[in-house]
């Protein structure tokens, strides 16, 4: 208590703490910067709109990929297995095996392609008809085409793949996932391309905001000179411009979310109708909380970066004359 009394005696009552002062200055400056933007609503809106479109573009592309992935992800779990039986397995055994597999809950249908039928099809479709006539024995095995039920997950598919392979009559099980894998590889490339495009667009935002702030600095050159003349530091003069950049970025981010949201609402109905025609439970995925925050955060940080660059470059040169 005694200590507190002494310190009270030395600290002038009216003086605000440095942190409090700093916070109050920032609140004042941020409000001032916002007010300045509000006084030129059209110009500010244009800048915000450009940023919003630039942010919304990669966000929309990302959403498209995300939705396509979610659709194709369900395909992978509904692919047929081709079960090639060991040569020497009789047609009767093959039929019995087919019936057995058909009873599994995770299987929707099993189609037996006997070796003879396969050879006939091969002859007629491959064009090697005459050459194949010279074969003394049929080299093709009996094949079971197993179509899994729709409720399968990735794990249950792997399990089924293993179990089919472990059957004593099975020679080899092939899952027809190759084209889906290729498709996913293409999606990966697209995603990478979108990331590169997003980086370029991000750079564009920095340039747009930097340029806007540069013009703003030029317009307020006299004010900057006067404030420096009466003792303002570079930091003090820079502050309102950083806040402007931040507001532009924040506005752009929020508007980008609104644009993407509007697009989703517009697409939801026709997409639902299409999914209905295919009897699919598919619903358009929208941006989740993290993605939304990422867009806003990107807008804010790019806004700050742009204004910082402009302020650092141009503020130093403005000195009172």
């Amino acid at each position: 208590m005694a200590l507190k009394k002494t310190s009270d005696a030395f600290v002038p009552a009216r003086r605000a703490g440095p942190v409090r002062t700093w916070a109050l200055q920032h609140i004042g400056t941020s409000a001032g910067a916002l007010g300045r933007l509000a006084r030129q609503p059209f110009a500010s809106l244009m800048t915000v709109l450009v940023i919003a479109v630039t942010l919304a573009l990669p966000a929309a592309m990302h959403l498209i990929i995300k939705n396509v992935q979610s659709i194709s992800g369900s395909w992978e779990n509904a692919l047929d297995f081709s079960v090639y039986l060991k040569s020497g397995t009789s047609v009767e055994d093959a039929h019995r095996l087919a019936d057995l597999i058909r009873q599994r809950a995770d299987v929707r249908a099993v189609n037996l392609i006997p070796a003879d039928q396969a050879l006939e099809e091969f002859k007629s479709e491959s064009g090697f008809g005459a050459a194949l006539d010279h074969l003394s024995v049929n080299p093709l095995p009996h094949t079971l085409v197993v179509r899994p039920a729709s409720g399968n997950t990735e794990q249950s598919m792997t399990l089924m793949h293993e179990e089919l392979g472990n059957l004593p009559e099975t020679d080899f099980v092939q899952a027809d996932t190759e084209w889906v894998q290729r498709f996913h590889a293409i999606l990966d490339i697209l995603q990478r391309a979108i990331a590169i495009g997003a980086a370029l667009l991000g750079a564009a935002i920095v340039v747009i905001i930097g340029n806007t702030i540069r013009l703003d600095i030029q317009n307020r050159r006299e004010e900057i000179e006067v404030t420096k003349l009466i003792g303002a530091s570079n930091g003090f003069v820079r502050r309102p411009f950083l806040w402007s950049g931040l507001w532009y970025g924040l506005g752009g981010g929020l508007l980008a979310l609104a644009l993407v949201g509007y697009g989703l609402v517009a697409l939801r109905e026709p997409a639902g109708r299409l999914a209905g025609l295919y009897n699919s439970p598919f619903r358009i995925l929208s941006l989740d909380l993290n993605e939304s925050l990422l867009i806003i955060g990107t807008g804010v940080s790019l806004g700050l970066a742009g204004s910082w660059l402009a302020a650092a470059r141009h503020m130093r040169r403005i000195e009172p004359r």
Binding site: R14, A16, P18, L24, V226, K228, L229, G231, S233
Partner: protein
């Protein structure tokens, strides 16, 4: 309060604005720097405000050698000095109140405290009733008084003014000088550049005449004798009090 030792200021073009200038202003003095335009008055004030640095010599303000004030420290240095300009240098996008309060905002003075100080400063220049106006709507004389209020709002020990009455008619000039005089009476040191010799003579303050960047010796001698003479003969006019 201010000491210049052998100060030379040479501009990139080669012309010398100040040549080996030595002068001193004591604490609590009110001193006028006079001379024709181009004599080096403004350069002198610019060196004191650290808008420029001397080519050679020392400028010592309130015990600080300006040579040792780094670029980063200039803002803090300037905050100790009140400055008044011929063209007021007010900001026309904000009210009189905000203009006067700007140095306090820069210094981070709390809102309530600042408001009190701004009103006190405006009261001293007689413009308390116009705090909400935009400076653009004020007359030149009033704008200059706003500039003065801004210069003194953070209670600097030193006030420098470059041609503060340059754009004012004699009556308004008198008004401004009277305000300066009042500050001087409460201990503020003032260094004022002016070419209005008639007005200065009326005030009876020390005068440092500059000529081509140096103190014009003869003129000062003349002035000193004249000043002494005047002190002996006429009492200071009542209106200056």
């Amino acid at each position: 309060m201010i000491r210049l030792e052998n100060v030379t200021k040479r501009f990139p073009g080669g012309q010398e604005a100040l040549k080996c200038l030595t002068l001193a202003v004591d604490r609590g003095e009110m001193v006028f720097v006079t001379g024709h335009s181009g004599a080096g008055k403004s350069t002198l004030l610019r060196l004191i405000a650290l808008i420029d640095r001397p080519t050679d010599g020392q400028v010592i303000v309130d015990g600080q050698n300006t040579r040792r004030v780094s670029r980063r420290k200039i803002p803090a240095y300037r905050r100790q000095i009140g400055m008044v300009f011929q063209d007021h240098k007010l900001l026309y996008d904000r009210s009189v109140f905000d203009n006067v309060g700007l140095p306090l905002v820069i210094a981070g003075v709390g809102h309530r405290d600042a408001a009190r100080k701004v009103r006190a400063a405006l009261d001293q220049v007689g413009l308390l009733h116009k705090e909400k106006r935009n400076p653009e709507t004020l007359s030149t004389g009033e704008q200059q008084r706003v500039g003065i209020a801004r210069a003194i709002v953070s209670r600097p020990k030193l006030l420098i003014a470059d041609e503060p009455t340059g754009n004012l008619d004699p009556d308004l000039s008198l008004e401004v000088m009277r305000i300066f005089r009042r500050f001087n009476e409460v201990g503020v040191t003032l260094l004022i550049a002016s070419h209005d010799i008639a007005l200065i003579d009326q005030l009876g303050c020390r005068r440092i005449p500059l000529e081509n960047g140096s103190v014009a010796v003869h003129e000062e001698e003349d002035f000193v004798s004249e000043y002494a003479e005047r002190l002996g003969v006429v009492a200071e006019p009542e209106q200056w009090r």
